[in-house]
């Protein structure tokens, strides 16, 4: 327990340092207020990374179990298409959202089944699912954008709790809470850690390894789907291009957050904080008007530094 808390402290320090730097150098308004460190900007930044944050909860479960899921962005895209098309066809909000979640969960379960019983490497399986889900989204939508969605759904995505906290951020925090409790405080969570830490030992100690794998990938799909729902609610449209490439951001968030890609070790809170690091960084680049040519370089370097800095604080015997 102590060790896990210590790891999150590392990433919090990184965030605080970034925040302090941006508070110092970001432009100020005429009234002298920081354009970075003000409530509206911070809420906008949180809302912007909420999709990655939500998806990273599921991704943490998968990675802690010793697996990986490259299909996150595509499953999100497929959910976006499914939900948007259902809404546009007149389905109710609950029905459309359920359809989206079922589709995303199904993708996760298929990946999980192939990993668990097909004994295929997660990298290859989810790489295939990346293409399958993206292609399915394109096929379903016919390549068209879906717009004209009901105002009530969009009001949720663009709405606020107590006029302050964007609802997507609320959903992200709830997802984080659910994931953190599941991973830290439940038998399931302990089993996932055990599986990722040493699969052979997990099998020998009688853990239902195959079912565990099915469950984590299924949950991974569900959280990607939830992020997809929030996407549709926030932007009020659907397209098969939603979430292209986002799996890399999600995995970066999880790694920055302190989860080991080897498995067995990691926290959901850390991953969401990792998503925050990426979000704050991109916000900073925009506020500082950093020329586009440098953006990708800077993001890459900061990610590497954040992970290095974090690892240096926690010497580990395993890679």
């Amino acid at each position: 327990m102590r060790a896990l808390r210590f790891r999150e402290t590392g990433i919090v320090v990184v965030l605080v340092v970034m925040g302090a730097v941006l508070w110092a150098v970001a432009p100020r308004t005429a009234a002298g207020e920081s354009t970075f460190l003000n409530r509206e900007n911070l809420m906008q930044v949180a809302r912007a990374f909420s999709f990655i944050g939500i998806a990273s909860v599921g991704a943490t479960l998968v990675i802690v179990s010793g697996g990986i899921d490259l299909s996150v962005g595509s499953v999100l895209g497929l959910t976006v298409v499914t939900t948007a098309m259902a809404l546009s066809a007149g389905w109710g909000i609950v029905a459309a959202s359920t359809a989206g979640l079922i589709v995303s969960g199904a993708c996760g379960l298929v990946s999980g089944a192939l990993v668990a019983w097909g004994r295929l490497p997660p990298f290859i399986v989810t790489l295939g699912m990346l293409s399958i889900a993206r292609g399915a989204g394109y096929w379903l939508s016919g390549g068209r954008m879906v717009s004209g969605l009901p105002d009530s759904f969009v009001a949720f995505g663009q709405g606020f709790l107590a006029s302050v906290v964007p609802l997507p951020v609320v959903v992200m925090l709830l997802a984080m809470l659910a994931g953190a409790v599941a991973l830290r405080r439940t038998v399931f969570g302990r089993a996932v850690h055990a599986l990722g830490g040493n699969e052979a030992a997990a099998v020998l100690s009688g853990l239902p390894v195959a079912r565990l794998k099915l469950a984590v990938y299924g949950l991974g799909g569900l959280f990607s789907g939830l992020a997809g729902l929030i996407y549709v609610a926030r932007f009020g449209y659907g397209s098969s291009t939603a979430g292209v490439g986002w799996e890399l951001q999600v995995i970066s968030a999880v790694v920055i957050g302190g989860t080991s890609l080897a498995g067995g070790d990691g926290t959901v809170v850390g991953s969401v904080l990792g998503a925050a690091v990426i979000g704050v960084l991109t916000n900073g680049l925009t506020l500082l008007s950093v020329p586009e040519e440098y953006n990708q370089l800077v993001v890459g370097c900061v990610i590497v530094m954040a992970v290095l800095g974090d690892r240096l604080r926690m010497p580990r015997s395993l890679a």
Partner: protein, 336 residues
């Protein structure tokens, strides 16, 4: 595992790994036969961009209108010049009667376009050209000229004064870079204006929306925005951080999700490419080429300049284009 048991796994793994290389295709069955149907292959940059879907609708409708033409719609799932080259090579092997391609990268496609021409297959480009290739003609906008138009429009809307920002999509995309060059050229003619920030959203709508938020936070007094593509406007509420009276927004593309922004006064001008006609004219030009007609070096489409004032007229045109029962005719370019 013994070697024997490893086999199925390897086969499946390889198949799954190759899956990203498989592209989707669509076929339009030909109309009443009067001789062998002509098969035209249209190769947009990628499948995953809704804007090309309108081109497909246009192509298939025009093909039905003419009759006896089969359309093959082939593209990589995501923008990938190498995969486009592969696709065109297989089309050459298939001996199609014509190819129309929107190039991901002009130089990367040059070789295979020349190969198609050498193989006797009429080949044209649309939307995104390969000017140094031997393509018979290019149909689409003149990106540099239209970039200048966009820049001039922004200068008009801001009365030639103030700081402005620009939004682009995929970094390094040839046609986007050319549009931006046009915008910059136009802005340079107005010494009272300064292009203070350019952001690239990698064609990601979600990213573009948060970039606009960030820029408006840092520069609340921004006089204007030029979008060289409509990515943020596909979403709703993308311009909430923008005070329409203070900041003039002009954008490329006038697809239906963007129209409410004109109606709401958030956007002053949309520079509309003739997206249906990428498909329509590809068919027309390939038919002409098949008949041996010599095509001009460039067949610029021009742009419709859509404003809140003429949106109703544009809407009517769009409805006609989309209606499967109404054939394509001559539609003069819309002026503000």
């Amino acid at each position: 595992m013994t070697a024997g048991r490893r086999w199925p796994g390897i086969v499946i793994a390889v198949a799954l790994a190759l899956a990203p290389g498989v592209s989707l295709s669509g076929e339009n069955p030909s109309a009443p036969a009067s001789g062998a149907p002509l098969t035209f292959a249209i190769v947009p940059k990628l499948l995953d961009n809704p804007v090309f879907n309108y081109a497909r609708v246009g192509a298939e409708k025009r093909a039905r209108q003419i009759g006896n033409i089969r359309i093959l719609w082939r593209a990589p799932q995501e923008a990938d010049a190498a995969k486009q080259v592969e696709i065109i090579e297989s089309l050459i092997a298939m001996k199609v009667d014509g190819i129309a391609v929107s190039c991901n990268e002009p130089e990367a496609l040059r070789g295979v376009i020349d190969k198609a021409i050498a193989a006797g297959i009429p080949t044209i480009t649309f939307d995104s050209d390969a000017p140094k290739s031997r393509r018979l003609t290019y149909y689409g906008v003149n990106d540099l000229e239209c970039g200048r138009l966009l820049g001039e429009a922004l200068a008009r809307e801001t009365k030639g004064k103030g700081e402005v920002a620009m939004l682009t999509g995929m970094r390094g995309a040839f046609n986007l870079e050319t549009r931006m060059e046009g915008v910059r050229e136009a802005l340079r003619r107005h010494p009272g204006m300064a292009l203070v920030q350019t952001v690239a959203c990698d064609d990601d709508t979600a990213k573009s929306v948060s970039q606009i938020e960030g820029v408006m936070k840092a520069r609340p007094a921004l006089a204007g925005w030029a979008f060289v593509g409509g990515w943020p406007l596909f979403a709703r509420g993308a311009l909430d951080p923008v005070d329409a009276k203070r900041t003039a927004v002009v954008s490329w593309d006038a697809l239906p999700p963007e129209w409410p922004y004109l109606e709401g006064g958030k956007v002053r001008l949309l520079l509309a490419q003739r997206v249906f006609h990428w498909g329509v004219e590809s068919v027309n030009l390939l038919v002409a080429a098949a008949k041996g007609v010599r095509l001009p070096r460039n067949s610029y489409s021009g742009v419709d300049l859509v404003t809140p004032g003429n949106l109703a007229a544009y809407r009517r045109m769009w409805t006609r284009w989309e209606d499967p029962a109404i054939p394509f005719g001559r539609d003069p370019l819309l002026k503000p």
